[in-house]
């Protein structure tokens, strides 16, 4: 039987980061990835000779090089990736748009948002400043019981429109809770989006993943694709290894699972061993929030004014902004409109890329996908993407006639390729913040450990290895 000091389930960003940390100091480590390529929730695919990204719109947590304690710079030092190799490109500007009610722009300079609040919500200037002071003083990395971020924000801000507008991007880019967030998660994502901001490295997610995989392998790390874990093997109170889908048993001293909280629980073979991992049932730990996303390629003349100024638009049309599983297959009343090329120093490509994301109902999509009538799912994708276009055209102008290519993915697509139950991209509403489980040598990293975004997921892998494993070997 092969045996490794550390086994990692999942070759997404958190698994790769954890692997790099461990391999960097000369330790043997193996990452098992179910899919044929790396990336997990942030991956890519090819159609018509073109690369399309899944997941990544923008990376949050932009920070200048001199800010050594910023999450981005700490992460890069930990992974031993020189910042200059990434050639970071900052966003143009982004907007929270509640049409006919209000709009707030923000950029990687926090004063943009502050002055927008002053302009559009003059009565809220002092309370907003007081809230920022409280947020700055908050340490979100100390594990503590869940506290409602809505209650926290409402204790400062009394203008409900402003509250909803501020929550809109934060929820869309990271909340695994319906209509609220835990205060720690709120603080992390508020800083990551508003106080730090959006950027992208040059190239695509494929280039970033390639860089991580190369770094990992250069340090001696091993990575096997198309190798799903079927079962976690236990003996008394410890993990002794895993059994892969092809039946191979691989032994380990430590196991890190990035598969997710309910997904990891499913890997225990008996009710007893699963109950030892966690007694929480899936209705508590399985995330209900998922999305549809349409990717469009538009020929150049479309949408000139907007495509020249905005990177991401978060919109809401309802009286009250809600962030929960929609009753119908897709929630068109709100969404995210992203122009992934609108970052400084962008390549001059022949087409404009547009991505539109809406909340979606997993059950509705699963039902259609499993139906005997195999045309139902495709027809439903078509119908909802047409309806989405009608809504989005009212916001950014008519682009329908300029579409040269389009594709849509649904909660079922996400579930199929990432194994996240119900296609819940932000994972379980129950986070395991210290990464510990009832098994002394099993740790959780990634989305369900609770750091947010791409920088957060990688820091999660890094931190779990630093705190729990490197200091013990």
């Amino acid at each position: 039987m092969r045996r490794y000091p550390l086994l990692i389930i999942g070759g997404g960003l958190s698994g790769l980061a954890a692997g790099i940390r461990f391999a960097r100091f000369g330790q043997k480590v193996l990452i098992l990835e179910k899919h044929v390529k790396a990336g997990g929730l942030n991956s890519y695919y090819h159609r018509r000779g073109r690369l399309f990204e899944t997941g990544l719109h923008a990376i949050t947590n932009y920070a200048p090089p001199a800010d050594k304690h910023a999450p981005l710079n700490r992460l890069l030092r930990q992974l031993k990736i020189p910042r200059r190799t990434l050639k970071l490109r900052q966003q143009f500007s982004s907007e929270i748009l509640f049409p006919e009610r209000s709009s707030l722009c923000f950029s990687n300079d926090f004063s943009t948002l502050q002055s927008q609040v002053a302009e559009n919500f003059p009565d809220s200037v002092q309370p907003f400043a007081a809230m920022i002071a409280a947020l700055d003083a908050y340490d979100p990395f100390t594990p503590r019981p869940k506290i409602s971020a809505r209650e926290f924000v409402s204790s400062f801000l009394h203008d409900t429109l402003l509250v909803e507008m501020l929550f809109c991007p934060l929820m869309f880019y990271g909340s695994s809770d319906e209509d609220d967030m835990d205060i720690s998660q709120f603080v992390i994502i508020f800083r990551a989006i508003y106080q730090e901001g959006f950027f992208r490295p040059q190239g695509t997610i494929k280039d970033l993943l390639g860089l991580l995989v190369t770094q990992y392998k250069n340090f001696g790390g091993e990575l096997e694709f198309s190798t799903g874990v079927k079962e976690i093997l236990t003996e008394n109170d410890a993990i002794i290894g895993v059994r892969t889908a092809s039946g191979e048993e691989i032994g380990c001293d430590y196991l890190i699972s990035t598969a997710g909280y309910p997904e990891t629980k499913r890997l225990f073979a008996t009710p007893d061993t699963a109950a030892k991992f966690s007694t929480a049932t899936e209705d508590k730990t399985s995330g209900r929030l998922s999305f549809t996303e349409s990717i469009y390629l538009l020929d150049k003349p479309a949408l000139k004014p907007i495509t020249e100024t905005r990177t991401i638009i978060f919109y809401n049309l309802s009286e009250q902004f809600t962030y929960h599983r929609p009753e119908k297959a897709v929630g068109l009343n709100s969404g995210v409109i992203c122009f992934p090329e609108n970052f400084e120093g962008g390549q001059n490509s022949d087409y404009i890329q547009l991505r539109v994301t809406h909340l979606a109902n997993y059950d509705a999509w699963r039902h259609a996908y499993d139906a005997d009538d195999k045309s139902l799912y495709a027809a439903m994708k078509k119908e909802w993407s047409e309806r989405s276009k009608e809504v989005v055209c009212k916001i950014i102008g008519n682009y329908q006639k300029n579409i040269v290519y389009e594709d849509t993915f649904t909660p079922v697509t996400i579930e199929r390729y990432t194994s996240r139950t119900q296609g819940a991209v932000y994972g379980s509403p129950e986070k395991i913040k210290d990464g510990r489980t009832n098994y002394e040598n099993l740790y959780i990293a990634g989305t369900d450990q609770g750091y947010l975004g791409i920088v957060g997921s990688m820091l999660s892998g890094v931190t779990m290895v630093n705190h729990h494993i490197l200091n013990k070997i």
Partner: protein, 83 residues
């Protein structure tokens, strides 16, 4: 290893962790973390790197003894004598 060699090893490791670290103006009696603006995650890397290179185990309880360049040298001298 001589005292100077040990000092150079520590500086080399720091440079490796942060290639923009200003080592020219380092005061050897002051805390490394404050002067270099590093955090505990970086600090762990110094420990791990020493371990990888010279197979010396540094228990967590001893980390405070690596606070300054001088204290690093004092702590490491007996442990790297044969290296």
């Amino acid at each position: 290893m001589t005292i100077d060699e040990i000092k150079n090893v520590v500086l080399e490791i720091i440079q490796d962790i942060d290639d923009e670290a200003d080592l020219e103006n380092l005061n050897s009696g002051e805390a490394l973390r404050d002067q270099l603006d590093l955090d505990s995650m970086d600090f762990l890397d110094i420990v791990m790197e020493l371990r990888k290179r010279y197979q010396i185990q540094i228990p967590e309880a001893d980390y405070p003894q690596l606070a300054t360049l001088d204290s690093c040298v004092n702590y490491l001298t007996p442990r790297l004598k044969a290296a």
